[in-house]
Amino acid sequence: MSDEASKGNAPAKKPKKRMSRRERERRRALVLSILTGGAVVGLGLAGYYPVMTYAKAEDRLRPPGAIEEREFLAACIKCGQCVQVCPVEAIILADFEDGFGNGVPHIVARDQACDFSCDAVQCILACPTGALTHEIDKKEQVRMGLAVLTRPDTCLARKGLGFKGTARGDDFPGLHRYIEVDRWNPIRIADHPYDLELCDLCVRECPIKDAIRLEPMSDDPNDKRKTPVVTDKCVGCGMCEMICPVDPPSIEIIPRKKYGEA
């Protein structure tokens, strides 16, 4: 009888067992899908978190023509065409380690500033999405930030001191186009030594007319001391920050700061 019972049960049990195994596999697939898919979305959101909290976004100096920071992050398609056209390779793309905006361009002015060697604003012309606004086409119209004398006490001109030698040392790889040396090609700053009675590098190498000037610090004609004064013409390119021979630099770009703003 027991034989009969097992025989009778066998065909009914078998498909049931197969179904449950299939069901188990399907459930595992579903759970795994939710876990892995969730992890992928989670990682994406982890990249959004710093943008949401805006912890570091404003610290980054964006290329000429960059629109408002949040919109800029939205509009940038991360192709690096701005990087490719820059003759001094000032523009670099953010990497994973930068925390957000993978592939979004920025400039580290102290290492390599934008000096408008391209004569126009090539990066703006190259941008396919308008993250660098196509509304401007002259370097004078750019507003990346503002040069600020952040360490006035260290400024050589304010101490009445001159400067002799290479601005940033003989190993500094940074480039600058010296029109009087080569109209078309930027050269290494290390290959262009100076001998100045009073240091005026920030004024001398500024690519924008009347953006910065040196003013005497007193009415005394024997007082050699002068102080850099930044005007509303400043576009925030960072050339002064790069060329400043003092380390850390006396003058720095505050990204996105506007003239007259506290």
Binding site: E25, R26, R28, A29, L30, L32, S33, I34, T36, G37, V40, V41, L43, G44, L45, G47, Y48, V51, M52, R70, E71, L73, A74, A75, C76, I77, K78, C79, G80, Q81, V83, Q84, V85, L93, A94, D95, F96, E97, F100, G101, N102, G103, A126, P128, T129, G130, A131, H134
Partner: protein
């Protein structure tokens, strides 16, 4: 059963539908009946045995495909480093001899986030859409995507490891890609930030090659690790929204892989090598509702099935061109 609708259903992640009796065309029904006669079944067994005894070398599409991926990506690298200006930019957006090109998915993400579309981007997106529509949509994956190539190499390793029992092949639900697609589109729109681009292994790999931004390759490494040991073709098969964007384009593309029921011996060799085997479900016995079928939207036109097919039942076809010639 509308084959186009069915191909979209599968693209969204549904299991291939078993056709009902009414779905078969008269011709297909007769062909299936004919194939099921005892003589033909014997003939089929004989043909398979013969075929196994004398393995034929088929045309290696891969010998063209791999160099194509490498060549295209090398063009970007060379253009930048030697300043030859052939293909400037990265895979997300570029200028090809001065003409704007934009990756469809990147363009979509940016447009959703920015909510504005400059004429340059419109031109670039349209150009790329037409181009990939012509050559098959997801052919982007198999013929251009650098991550696909890495993934393919890892897959070869994975198969070997799996044979030895050192690697698992967990299945996922393919619908997860559709969910991710919607989630990332919504995230881009709501946050105004291109959330997906942060993790897109395609953009990351492309930029790493061109600009040397290597840190992002850690994430690519993690993905490849998962693919090597746990889930075969994890990213390309189950996750990638880019693949889905191009699948939409491919769903109406004139360039397809074409299936000829009369030549098929239903051995299943094609499904074994396919990245998206659900599109080849019709090659199972009794499944094809028509004697001639163009493979569905998700097909990457990688031609692995064409190479694997011993009888030439699968071939490339350009709709309209065969009539023209």
């Amino acid at each position: 059963m509308n084959l186009y609708v069915e191909s979209l259903r599968q693209m969204f992640g549904a299991e291939p539908r078993k056709p009902g009796k009414e779905d078969f065309t008269e011709e297909a029904r007769k062909l299936h009946e004919f194939k099921n006669t005892p003589e033909q079944r014997a003939e089929r067994r004989r043909l398979i045995a013969e075929e196994l005894a004398h393995k034929k070398e088929s045309f290696s599409w891969r010998k063209w495909r791999w160099p194509t991926i490498i060549f295209v990506n090398l063009l970007f690298v060379i253009s930048y480093h030697f300043d030859v200006q052939l293909v400037e930019g990265a895979l997300t957006a570029s200028r090809v001899i001065g003409f704007h090109f934009a990756d469809l998915n990147s363009s979509l993400q940016v447009t959703l986030a920015f909510k504005e579309m400059l004429i340059n981007l419109v031109i670039g997106t349209a150009t790329v859409a037409v181009l990939w529509w012509l050559v098959g949509g997801r052919s982007f994956c198999a013929w251009t995507c650098p991550y696909h190539l890495l993934s393919e190499w890892v897959e070869m390793l994975h198969v070997r490891l799996a044979e030895k029992g050192w690697a698992k092949d967990y299945q996922l639900h393919r619908g997860v890609r559709t969910v991710l697609y919607v989630v990332f589109a919504l995230l881009a729109f709501v946050t105004g930030y291109t959330v997906f681009e942060w993790i897109s292994p395609v953009g990351i790999t492309s930029r790493a090659l061109i600009y040397g931004t290597l840190a992002g390759m850690i994430w690519v490494g993690v993905l490849l690790f998962i693919e090597l040991f746990f889930i075969r073709r994890f990213w390309c098969r189950y996750m990638c929204p880019i693949g889905m964007t191009y699948a939409f384009v491919g769903s109406v593309s004139p360039t397809t892989v074409h299936y000829d029921l009369s030549k098929c011996l239903h051995e299943g060799e094609c499904r074994k090598v396919c990245l998206v085997p659900h599109v080849l479900e019709i090659t199972k016995k009794g499944r094809a509702t028509r004697p001639h079928i163009d493979i569905g939207a998700d097909c990457t036109r990688c031609a692995m099935c064409i190479e694997a097919c011993p009888t030439g039942a699968l071939t490339f076809r350009v709709k309209g061109l065969d009539k023209l010639l």
